[in-house]
Amino acid sequence: MTATAGARKTRAAVSDRTKAENSLGRKLVAPAVIIMLIVTAFPMIRALWLSVYDYTLTAPDDKKFVGLGNYATALSDSLFWRDTGVTVLIMVVTVGVELVVGFVFAMVMHRLVFARGVVRTSILIPYGIITVISGFAWQFAFSQTNGFVSGWLHMSPTFNWFGHTWSALLAIMVSEIWKTTPFMSLLLLAGLAQVSEDMVEAAKVDGATWWQRLYKVILPNMRAAIMVAVLFRALDAYRIFDNIFVMTNGAQNTESVSFLTYRQVIEQFSLGMGSALSVLLFLSVMLVAYILVKAFRVDLAQARQEV
């Protein structure tokens, strides 16, 4: 009897505590959640709503319901698919290069015993610099009239980097890779730090070559770090906009999906079509995230939060 009473008492105390914690917890997160949702959930719902209308800001009286017409138009338009292709290409190439270069940088930093402060400082500068400025710096660097790249590569001084799709895309990717590789390398460095030196030593003693140690010991042990880095960078790269805006403004077929959406909404004022594209952009980012998470079988919340 006393035992039951005691248990009941404890349960009551626990549930009181739980209740209090529940309520305090919610109150503490509420402001942050509200602010996050004001700018995302509401506009997204509104975008869904607007996307079924033919609605242009310059001719508000002509607003009419078109059902899924905007989606049909967008999805059957070659421009949408071309821009999606460009975006995916940029994402794959930049993330791939960043992963390799970032890993090399991380290895160097990991082994470095001197000049660590200098390296850390320099590597943070591209990370912190404004993307638009990175775009400008590289645009000017590739410019035929005032840049140095053509000269250094011993190319014809009249070669116009921004006059061809491939060279313009290359310039855009260089600016993207330059700015974001440091972020990648820092995440990988943290991953490297998690790989136990003992295991690497043990492998060495067992006669494993450098490559074997890399593939069998180091990489598998920093899988989570690599996945998080790739996931975040890939989603970031899929949303590429700033560099394209300042470097080519979408000319020479260098437009990304974000840029296409921006033009419909902000330049053409086609809120209906623009909203449909916004929804498609959102869904494609979700799809990319889903594919990556599935492919890597990473529980992101776990990796990030140890919940």
């Binding site: 138009t73 035929q144 116009n160 000319a251 033009r263 004022f269 079509m273």
Partner: protein, 446 residues
């Protein structure tokens, strides 16, 4: 208690921040009403001076600068106006966007007393037309721009092109030189041809002039809005495409052709080596080089400056007179302005003969009014033949389509005609016509 206090504290901080920023952003004034004038950056210094002169003891004009490209200017203004912004009192507006702005109800219609003066007989035909929409006057023409052929006399001479004084035209074997003649003349004599062919509005200026110069147009029946008739798939469209194609394939093309704008070819007139260029460009060019004598990018000396020639815009096809592009700026009054009456008076002041003379003499932006062309100041600042050429070009030039959907039309053309090296006489006009139709019907993405 703690919860309430915390809530209040957060709210107070939030309110303070919001209040502080709104106040900081609002600005102050000295009792006079402040009228914002959104200007394009062509003549900042002159506009600032005019804004001072046109301010009265009741209101003060304050200059706000717009970005440099015509489409960016449109975007910035349109966003403010779509937001029913009451602080957009006056604005410089490119004539091609007047129709769009007016049909969206963003421009205040001029009351009769202002309308009659804004487009009276003194105003040249092109600019006057550009300020009207749907039978109403919706803007004050401020200055009128046009393009002519700027060239090095020495280069033309070497190439056997002669200048005919009576028609102010470059002649090849006794008839007005066509684009083909000029491209060939440049290519054979170490010169280049400067145009505007970046993916932007300036490229459409060129294409439109080429099409109209061959007797056609891009679209007609533009009052029908999205049901306008698309005409670019025609002989005139093909002739225009042929010129673009010829230049893109020629060694007279400047290396930055596909990203060229009004500024990029300026440096090619007096290059450190080479014969110089033929360049179609706006009226500011004369003042530009005059100011650059002896400086990098400009004529080395007075004599070199004397070598700068000007002639009527080149013909697209032989036997058809060219249609020089018309540009310029109209001043509009925002429909949501709180001070429309003041704004109207200010706009009139910014566009009177004196103001136009100042714009021309100080910034090389030519007047929309005949009286300004005839003023002694202008006659002193520009050679008589140049004034005559400008005035003639504006009077006989071709406007770009006046349509509420102009920006769609323009973007559609840019999308199919850029880069210049992709243009083909056989396919580009047809492609762009069907694309433009789809765009206007909402069947294609732009």
């Amino acid at each position: 208690m703690t919860r309430a206090r915390r809530g209040r504290a957060v709210a107070a901080v939030g309110a303070a921040v919001l209040a502080g920023t709104t106040l900081a952003a609002c600005g102050s004034s000295d009792g006079r009403a402040t009228l914002n004038v959104y200007i394009n950056p062509d003549a900042q210094a002159t506009m600032a001076k005019l804004a001072d002169q046109c301010s009265t003891d009741k209101y003060k004009l304050e200059i706000q600068l717009l970005p440099s490209s015509a489409s960016d200017q449109r975007t910035q203004l349109a966003r403010r106006l779509a937001a029913r912004d009451s602080s957009t009192d006056l604005m410089s507006i490119d004539p091609v966007f007047v129709a769009e702005f007016a049909s969206a109800g963003w421009l205040a219609t001029l009351p009769e007393e202002y309308a009659s003066k804004a487009v009276d007989d003194d105003v040249l035909k092109g600019p006057a037309e550009s300020a009207q929409w749907d039978g109403k006057v919706v803007a004050f023409p401020q200055w009128a721009n046009t393009q002519v052929t700027w060239y090095r006399k020495s280069l033309a001479e070497k190439a056997g092109l002669t200048y005919d004084d009576a028609t102010q035209t470059l002649m090849k074997d006794g008839s007005p030189a066509t684009w083909d003649d000029i491209i060939k003349a440049a290519a054979d004599n170490g010169g280049t041809v400067g145009v505007q062919a970046n993916k932007y509005e300036g490229y459409v200026v060129w294409i439109n002039a080429l099409v109209m110069g061959a007797g056609g147009d891009i679209v007609s029946d533009t009052e029908a809005g999205t049901d306008a008739k698309v005409d670019i798939d025609s002989d005139a469209g093909k002739a225009a495409a042929q010129v673009v194609q010829t230049l893109a394939d020629s060694k007279a093309a400047q290396p930055d052709l596909s990203v060229s704008n009004e500024g990029t070819s300026l440096g090619q007139m007096y290059p450190s080596g080479g014969a110089g260029e033929f360049m179609v460009n706006w009226t500011f060019v004369y003042k530009n080089y005059e100011g650059l004598i002896g400086q990098p990018g400009g004529p080395a000396n007075k004599a070199a400056f004397q070598d700068l020639g000007w002639a009527r815009y080149p013909a697209t096809v032989s036997g058809e007179e060219s249609k020089p592009p018309i540009g310029g700026i109209d001043i509009g009054v925002g429909a949501y302005s709180k001070h429309k009456d003041y704004a109207m008076a200010a706009a009139q002041c910014l566009t009177n003969t004196d103001a136009e003379v100042a714009m021309a003499t100080e910034a090389g932006l030519m007047p929309a009014r005949t009286s300004a062309y005839n003023s002694p100041e202008l006659k002193k600042a520009f050679p008589a033949s140049l004034l005559e050429l400008f005035q003639n070009s504006v009077d006989t030039g071709g406007l770009r389509p006046q349509s509420a959907y102009y920006s769609k039309i323009s973007s559609a053309i840019q999308s199919r005609w850029h880069p210049p090296s992709s243009v083909s006489e056989s396919s580009t006009p047809g492609n762009s016509a069907s694309f433009l139709k789809d765009v206007l019907e909402g069947k294609a993405l732009l």
